[in-house]
Subunit: 337 residues, 2 copies
Amino acid sequence: SSVSTPIRATLFPGDGIGPEIAESVKQVFKAADVPIEWEEHYVGDQIDPRTQSFLTWESLESVRQNGVGLKGPMATPIGKGHRSLNLTLRKELNLYANVRPCYSLPGYKTRYDNVDLITIRENTEGEYSGLEHQVVRGVVESLKIITRQASLRVAEYAFHYAKTHGRERVSAIHKANIMQKTDGLFLKCCREVAEKYPEITYEEVVIDNCCMMLVKNPALFDVLVMPNLYGDIISDLCAGLIGGLGLTPSCNIGEGGIALAEAVHGSAPDIAGKNLANPTALLLSAVTMLRHLELHDKAERIQNAILNTIAEGKYRTADLGGSSTTTDFTKAICDHL
Amino acid sequence: SSVSTPIRATLFPGDGIGPEIAESVKQVFKAADVPIEWEEHYVGDQIDPRTQSFLTWESLESVRQNGVGLKGPMATPIGKGHRSLNLTLRKELNLYANVRPCYSLPGYKTRYDNVDLITIRENTEGEYSGLEHQVVRGVVESLKIITRQASLRVAEYAFHYAKTHGRERVSAIHKANIMQKTDGLFLKCCREVAEKYPEITYEEVVIDNCCMMLVKNPALFDVLVMPNLYGDIISDLCAGLIGGLGLTPSCNIGEGGIALAEAVHGSAPDIAGKNLANPTALLLSAVTMLRHLELHDKAERIQNAILNTIAEGKYRTADLGGSSTTTDFTKAICDHL
Ligand SMILES: CC(C)[C@H](C(=O)O)[C@@H](O)C(=O)O
Ligand SMILES: CC(C)[C@H](C(=O)O)[C@@H](O)C(=O)O
């Protein structure tokens, strides 16, 4: 496709601060001349009056057609029987890998310097099966499901990611000393894939030990791949090392190469509509989407503009100790482009 | 019982560095005139030639009779069909709560100051059920079991601990947004118990968020109570904040008031027998045993001697950046008494 044909990408602004931070992405993309045409759909905790639905078929179809999308935070609809919309999207679009790059932002000080980690989380099974039963009164069980297919798929993604991103080591995180069959199968699949990537160092780390080592010395790790719940936990732990979920991008990879980038923080209803939200996580997520589209120059330029704006420190939103509005911060980024 | 009648306590030195660090405890207790008579049993990865067993009935009976014990690290026997001895002890003695105090050691610098956390882990069920099945080839399931009985028991222990130790807040850690029935039952039990302790602030925190907050600002927490696997993960994370498992005590509480204190680090076979091991975790665990016996003066004196020795920094083992032997470090503690 020629440069003049715009790429269509789906945009789900989401709830709460979602529309404001999505607006920030649109402006930054415009300022950087990114050849993307947004196809915007509302998915969130309000029933769309036209369709009487939280999540329309058209919204899903838009991501499937475009192959790429960006989503803001979505609150879970209130009331009985509603599943988290995040989980519904993962399921409907078969988003099997959640990739979260986590790196220290220059000039934004935390207890940790030079963090540079990639967590890759299996996103479809494990403890998220939704299978729970009350066996007898007062005894409840929940099923964790690990399959060879999903484990191989996410392991393959992790090693391919490591190789194509100049990474040296993949650590599989597990608790196979206790869950020998389930986590054991996950490790077996990782080992099989590791053999195809002799240039990547492969190791296995028990999750409790991994968490201890991450807080002591995150530089011990590079790419981490793991089942669903461990990924949920460790990706948030890693985000904490560099300042929190407001600063970390995330991208979900689906069958057939779909990429749905997302800000994983909440919808922050308390500050919604007040022009106070920090759009960094959504902006950096949008950057991962650009990289997925191999628009590396645009990605690099935008990422630098974001990081430089934060590093300078003149324009920062309240969560980073500043007093800028969302629009001022966004304008500062555009000025850096 | 009068002061002159010694209290009998079981001692399992364990494997690897176990005997050396157990020796250190014996010497420190002697120097502090602790009225304890050790009943020593070998439990570990070697078959006892007299009994042809890894774990004898007498060893278990000793803890049951004495009501208190101290254990060093135990390696899992090599070969098929052997369960971790740690897990076997938890099961046989019904050690339902694992308590890990985690506090910054004065003078031993990490990225975190003034950490002061207590993790209380359900120790008998959850993901540790051992129930795993291959459903069809390539599909494995594992059962997490949560019961009302075990949840109430550990919640009761946590609130009682908070109250009797001058703590203000109990946080129940969970993932009930995903595992609504299992973790939901755990929370329900915590809430029931919380109502009986109106003087203690009660809150519920999702595990991923908890890990992020712990690395950002551990002072947000006080006592944390949680199901088995989350406890495994979070107690190690907390240990990492203050320097690692070599520095954190642990105590297991069983039905009928049994207390088995333990060092939760490994048996470090590489340095075993070389007089290099750091006995701090086992010593501080022994202190929790003394507190359980309400020997608070002795506990306080020994704890201060350990902390002061580390704080002075003249005698430190290699893992803390020093060059002291186990025996020199132990002697320094005794000199502080
Ligand atoms: C909101 C919640 C269901 C979700 C999860 O557990 O996966 C979130 O924590 C995440 O990491 O995206
Ligand atoms: C060794 C292992 C089985 C054990 C556990 O998972 O409980 C350990 O990590 C612990 O925390 O005591």
